[in-house]
Every structure is written in C-alpha cells, then in structure tokens.
C-alpha cells in the first residue's frame, strides 16, 4: 500500500468510496439528524474532527501496542475504548477553550461514539494496511464525504417539508429512497480514482 498517494486516498474516500453512500456506515445518525441543515452541519463537522483524530490514534495504538504484543484480536475492544475516550476528551477540551464551538458541536459529540462510521474507518485502515499518513488522510476524507452526504440530504429534506408524500413512505422511507438516488449519483464518480 506504500504506492498510493495520501491525496488520492483522500479524494477516493470522498467520491468513489463514500463511507455512507457505498459502505452504508453511519446510517443511524444520518437518518435521524438530517432534518435540518444547521444540526446536520454541526454533526458533520464533529464527525470530520473525530474521524481524523481517531484514525491517527488508532493507527498508533494498533501498530505500536497491539501488534508487537500479538493482541490483534482485541482490536475491536481497544478501538472502541480509544474512540469513546477521544470523544470524551475532545468534549472537555472544547468546553474549556471555545464556548462557541462547544455550543455548536457539544451536543453531537456523545452521539458520535456509537456512529459506525468512526469504528468502520479504523477497521478499514487495518484491513487495507494503510500507513500512518494514509490513514489520517483516509479518515479526514471519509469525514468530508460523510459531511457532504448529510448536508445534501438535509438540504433535500428541508425542501420536502411541505410536499405531498405517500403516507406509507413518510419519514425514513422517503429518506432511504433519496439516499439511494444520491448513491446512484456517486456511482458516477467511480471511474475517477480506483482504490481497494
């Protein structure tokens, strides 16, 4: 995996391998928090932030602690603890240093611990043997991709507010169809960069 430039990974994670639209990660919060642009952007920014940091920390932990000790099978438990601790730490840090940021991001941080995208990125990074720099760019790119997806979704859902939708499809039903159409649009990017 040495050969792939981090920037290629960054853009691939946004467009061709969008964490939400091609890997279905982070769906729960995507569906429940995408009703308004304002909250969606708050959560999206928090995800970018946490993803970048946790992919770096998890990379260090996995290759410097777990692998030398041959404890790779413990990675699920360790990763989830690292993520929970990072989120907790960030929350305290932000609360202390920036009130504006805390008011905007604060309430979303606890939600992020159980966002599958965060753990998913760390697991992908291990399976695909990324280097440290690659992991950080991959994490950041995935975060940006998630942000774009949830922002687009929130924009569409705000417009849908006063439209007539069949009663059986209201709420999650129509949201899933829109996500499907967005995913089809992103399939169009798949020729640009190819990674696996």
């Amino acid at each position: 995996m040495e050969a792939i430039s981090p920037w290629v990974l960054f853009f691939a994670a946004i467009f061709t391998g969008n964490i939400l639209l091609t890997y279905f990660l982070g769906m729960c919060s995507f569906l429940s928090v995408s009703k308004q642009i304002k909250t969606a952007s708050g959560l999206g920014l928090a995800v970018i932030f946490v993803l970048t940091i946790t992919s770096a920390v998890n990379h260090i932990v996995y290759y410097n602690i777990l692998q030398p000790l041959e404890l790779e099978y413990l990675r699920f438990i360790v990763f989830i603890i690292v993520i929970a601790a990072t989120v907790q730490f960030l929350e305290m840090f932000i609360e202390r240093f920036s009130e504006v940021l805390y008011l905007n991001l604060g309430i979303f941080l606890p939600l992020i611990t159980v966002n599958c995208a965060i753990l998913g990125v760390s697991l992908f990074m291990v399976i695909r043997n990324y280097t440290f720099i690659q992991s950080v760019f991959f994490g950041a790119g995935s975060g940006v991709g998630w942000f774009i997806a949830i922002m687009a979704m929130a924009g569409i859902r705000e417009k849908l507010n006063n439209k007539r939708i069949p009663p059986q499809l209201q709420g999650p039903g129509i949201a899933l169809i829109i996500t499907g159409i967005m995913a089809m649009a992103f399939v169009g990017f798949s020729g640009i960069v190819q990674i696996q």
Binding site: F24, C28, L119, Q168, I177
Partner: protein, 212 residues
C-alpha cells in the same frame, strides 16, 4: 411471564421491528445483503451477540454503577463480537473475509445498545435473553428478505445456485437473465430497504383501518 414473553416476541418480530419501525442498526449490515449466505451468517452472529449480551447485562444490572453503564455495555458487547469474529475466522474464513470490517461493526449496531439500555438494564435475565434473541431475529429476517431479492435480481442466483437463468430460458428468453447490476451496488440496498418499509407500512395501515 409467559404472556409477557409472547408480547415481546410479537413486538420484536413485527409491531416494533427494529429495522422497519425503529430504523436502527442498518449501518452495519445493509452492506452485506447483496449475498444471501453472508447475510445469514451475519444475522446469526448478531442474534448470538444480542441475546448473550442482554443476558449478561441483565445479570449485572444491579452491580453496574449507572455512571459507567454505557462503557460496561460496550465492553460486554465487544467481548461477544470478538468471540463471533474469531469463530468465523476459524470455521468459515472465506465468509469472514467477505464480511470484512462489518463483523466488528456489530459493536456499534444501535439495536444492541438500544435493547440493552431500554430493556436488559431493567428486566430479569430470562426475559432479557428472550428480548435480545427476538430483536436479533426480528432484525435478521428483514435483512434476509432484502438479501433474497438483491441476490436474486442482482446475480440471478440464490445461495450461489443459478435460479433466474433456467427460469428465463424455460419461458423462451434465449439470452437468459440480465443481471441488475444496480442491485449489487449500494443504491440497490437503499432502494430495497425503502420498498420493504413501504410494504410494511401499507400492511400496517390496512390493519389499522380494519380495526376502526
């Protein structure tokens, strides 16, 4: 006890189904529903994890301090997921590879956390086990239906056995089955789930009308 258990079964399988009604936990498993067998294995793993972590959490419910409740729940869940992961790696290495990171992602499956929080942390072990088991089953059967159609339309096969090709040829289409590539890709998963929810809600509305 018996009637309560029956209520739980009904609730989890249809009335309050984790996928169609609560829209929980679709993240980790929608991705594997393009192949029926993978979905089945994933579903069995999930049922194992939900039922046994519900049991453990319920036994420990009076000992765990409420402040660290979430952390303990996550740890219990992840220990069971590690068991599932190691077992799959040992006995079905091919499928384990195909499932990739999604086995680990059972940990963040919101259904499990949701059931622990809402049910297991305040109920007796026996009932919690039933509840965990049934919500796992309620989740798995929905995904199996989705996987059934995705594999059938996408690859024209079921459990790897060609189905659509012979059918199409027997009714006189010489070209055989044209695979619906979209069903294998991500959008197919979203559309199938949306259609499933649509059908489920339609049935639910009809039952509601008849009762009135």
């Amino acid at each position: 006890m018996a009637s309560k258990a029956l209520d739980i079964v009904k609730d989890d399988l249809w009335k309050n189904n984790p996928v169609t009604v609560q829209i929980l936990g679709i993240c980790s498993t929608l991705a594997v529903t393009n192949i029926f067998l993978n979905t089945l294995i994933m579903g069995l793993g999930l049922i194992f994890v939900t039922s046994f972590s519900a049991l453990v959490i319920s036994i420990l419910r009076n000992i765990i301090p409420s402040r660290v409740r979430m952390m303990v729940q996550v740890l219990v869940i992840s220990s069971f997921v590690v068991l599932v992961d190691i077992t799959l790696k040992a006995y079905v290495p091919d499928i384990s590879k195909a499932l990739g990171p999604y086995v680990g992602l059972i940990i963040t499956n919101c259904i499990i956390m949701g059931r622990m929080e809402a049910f297991a942390s305040s109920n007796k072990p026996g009932l919690s086990f039933i509840d965990g088991f049934m919500s796992g089953v309620g989740y798995t059967w929905v995904l199996l239906v989705i996987a059934f159609f995705r594999e059938l339309l996408g690859f024209g096969t079921l459990l790897g056995i060609p189905i659509m090709d012979p059918v199409m040829k027997s009714i006189g289409v010489t070209g055989g089955w044209t695979q619906w590539a979209i069903m294998i890709m991500a959008p197919g998963g979203f559309f199938m789930l949306a259609v499933f929810i649509w059908v489920a809600n339609t049935i639910e509305l009809k039952i509601g009308h008849e009762k009135e």
